[in-house]
């Protein structure tokens, strides 16, 4: 689905991503952990192709096609989608208007908005005066409508209260097709897993979202490099107990790179 090879990215005049190689296979969900400023958001923005993130080395492949220099909308047409951490507000453009513009034919705006408790927001100006939680739900509504094959989520839980985290987790699972796939009597769990086609790359600072969304792999980013990859729950537990300082220290030890 997504293959990133030796990626180096410059943002704001300095190198932020210093050689990342990462593969997300179809149906997999990966989590990116890391202290502030480690390059998590930069990585996501580079995958999307936003300006201000200059790829100086390496390449990004999506579904086998190199997308390193494609414009943002072309990447979206190929099946990429993102939920921004701090989306800009656009006065005069209604939320419903944008959802209707970007939705796949089989999606119904009203039904999705109902699920996300966003009915009253449909006729409001896009992101204008939205609270933290409302912004996240509005992002998910747009993403759900787009129904991409690989979803990039930049801290979907930040600024969201507990009650809404459950809702957000539930919707992310729906978008990732991890909710509707029940194991039938003649099926193995492996067979069900294999049916999943949607992939995800989730940035989480607090790891909270992991309680609601199943992840297959976790990676720790420190100073623009992946310093550790493995079971996301184990990594998260470690970070919670020992903090990112320990990750940084571990990464600096001889042989500390990778597991």
């Amino acid at each position: 689905m997504l293959y990133i090879q030796n990626l180096h990215v410059e943002a704001g005049g300095k190198e932020v991503i210093k050689g990342i190689t990462l593969e997300v296979k179809p149906g997999e969900v990966h989590c990116l952990f890391g202290p502030n400023g480690s390059g998590k958001t930069t990585l996501l923005m580079s995958i999307m192709g936003l300006s201000g993130y200059k790829i100086i080395q390496g390449k990004i492949l999506f579904k086998g096609q190199e997308i390193t220099s494609l414009p943002v909308n072309k990447r979206v047409h190929l099946g990429l989608g993102i939920s921004f951490q701090r989306p800009p507000s656009i006065p005069g453009v209604k939320l419903a208007q944008l959802v209707n513009l970007c939705k796949k034919e089989d999606k119904d705006t009203i039904t999705m908005a109902k699920e996300l408790n966003l009915i009253e927001f449909l006729e409001r100006d896009l992101n204008v005066g939205f609270s933290g939680g409302e912004l996240k739900r509005s992002e998910l509504l747009q993403l759900w409508a787009q129904s991409p094959d690989l979803i990039l989520l930049d801290e979907p839980e930040s600024g969201v209260d507990i009650e809404n985290i459950v809702l957000i987790g539930h919707i992310i699972n729906i978008i990732l097709e991890r909710d509707g796939l029940k194991v039938g009597p003649q099926e193995s769990r492996v067979a069900v897993k294999r049916k999943r086609k949607k992939s995800g790359l989730i940035i989480t600072h607090t790891g909270m979202i992991l309680q609601y969304v199943g992840a297959d792999k976790g990676h720790v980013l420190v100073d623009g490099r992946i310093v550790c990859s493995g079971n996301p729950y184990e990594i998260f537990r470690f970070i919670r107990e020992r903090g990112y300082e320990e990750c940084v220290r571990c990464a600096c030890m001889p042989g500390g790179f990778h597991e």
Binding site: M48, L50, S51, G52, P71, V72, N73, V76, H77, G81, I82, F84, P87, P88, I90, P91, G92, V93, Q97, L98, L101, C102, D125, L126, Q142, Q146
Partner: protein, 405 residues
């Protein structure tokens, strides 16, 4: 008759008086009289001309309109009204019919304001009279169309609009020129009298020829508890426009002015609104949205608070598309007594790259994203605007969108 003489004398003295704002126009460069009389029916308008009118909110067949007035060049070619208690006449007929109308004539605006008012006072060619009787509410909007079909002429007109006590008027005025016309001078005097408790929504859409000069002059008297809402939309290129309506608000009267402007290269638009809040409880809100793609917009606003307990707010927002263009916001507030509440906000900028990319991340192309943002910017939330007018407004913005991009 004595009054008419006095008006003419005043006007004669001011015929060379330059206006304080806008480029000075030499009126003599334009033909005072027309060469041809226009066709007497609207059906003879070409397809393109009909389309031009549609874009100013004018329904040629009169559907969903409570009444119509059409003037082409110097001739009134059609007027009708479909509702009782509502009057539409050519201004001459109205003057002949009502003795009292002389008392309104040039009373919201002085003929010696500048050379343009003076010229109209001396050489006026028709204009419309609209009156809504006490307590009557227009069911459908009325429409008035002022059309210029001949090259290099003046169109000096004088309109009077009276909303009697407790009435409600919704009036759309579409001003346009034929695609065959390149240049001309439109001078439109409008005097509004909104009586006690009445409401008037006045929407004016301009769709002139590229090289034309436009000098509207407007005076509005809003009596106790009355409301006046003005929406002025100019999205097609016009070389030279200067307008500065003046409103006078009495006790608890309300006024709202919304202006939407687009200035392509070569356009010079000097616009603004001046509101005198003369008595206690008066409220005014002046909002302007301007976009330039190489032209110049001067967005003025001048609020004068003369009584305590008045509230007034001014908002000027400008967007510069591309590299060139000027937007000059000049908001002015004047409080003359204690207890006034007046504020303004002004902002001039460009479309944020962040906004464009956000929409591109939803699959829109760069130009689709820009167009959506621009449309959003222009879509002022106009309070009290009837739904059908909102739709008209959106249509006008849609229709002119291509020119903007």
């Amino acid at each position: 008759m004595n009054k008419l003489k006095k008006i003419a004398e005043k006007a004669k003295k001011a015929i060379k008086k330059k206006a304080p704002y806008g480029q000075d126009i030499n009126i003599n460069e334009f033909e005072q009289e027309v060469k041809n009389l226009p066709d007497s029916t609207l059906h003879q308008l070409s397809e393109q001309e009909q389309k031009t009118l549609l874009e100013t909110g004018i329904e040629l067949r009169g559907g969903e309109r409570g009444g119509s007035f059409f003037q082409v060049d110097h001739s009134v070619i059609h007027y009708e009204v479909a509702q009782e208690g509502v009057e539409i006449l050519s201004i001459e007929e109205a003057m002949a019919k009502y003795d009292w109308l002389i008392n309104y004539w040039w009373s919201a605006l002085s003929p010696d304001t500048d050379k343009y008012t003076a010229y109209v006072a001396l050489h006026q060619k028709h204009g419309y009279f609209v009156r809504v009787l006490p307590g009557v509410k227009t069911f459908f909007p009325l429409q008035a169309c002022l059309f210029m079909s001949q090259e290099n002429i003046t169109q000096p007109i004088h309109n009077i609009i009276i909303c009697e006590e407790g009435s409600e008027l919704n009036l759309i005025t579409g001003c346009a020129a034929s695609h065959r016309v390149r240049t001309g001078l439109h001078l439109g005097i409008s005097e509004f009298f909104i009586k006690k408790g009445a409401t008037c929504t006045f929407t004016m859409i301009h769709n002139w020829a590229e090289e034309m000069a436009i000098r509207p002059r407007t005076g509005i008297i809003i009596e106790e508890d009355a409301t006046f809402v003005s929406n002025y939309i100019l999205l097609k290129k016009v070389a030279n426009l200067q307008t500065f309506p003046i409103a006078y608000l009495k006790k608890n009267a309300k006024a709202e002015f919304n202006t939407i402007l687009f200035a392509p290269k070569g356009a010079y638009l000097d616009t603004g609104t001046r509101v005198f809040l003369k008595e206690e409880g008066a409220k005014a809100e002046v909002v302007s949205r301007s976009i330039t793609a190489g032209g110049t917009v001067i967005a003025r606003g001048h609020l004068i608070g003369e009584a305590s307990g008045i509230k007034a707010h001014l908002e000027c927002k400008g967007l510069i598309l591309g590299e060139r263009g000027v937007i000059h916001a000049i908001p002015e507030l004047e409080g003359h007594v204690g207890g006034v509440e007046m504020s303004h906000e002004a902002a001039v900028g460009r479309i944020a790259k962040e906004q464009i990319e956000y929409l591109m991340a939803r699959g829109l192309s760069e130009s689709e994203a820009t167009s959506l943002i621009v449309k959003g910017f222009l879509r002022v939330d106009i309070k009290g605007l009837p739904e059908e007018l909102k739709i008209e407004l959106d249509k006008v913005i849609e229709a002119t969108e291509k020119d903007m991009m």
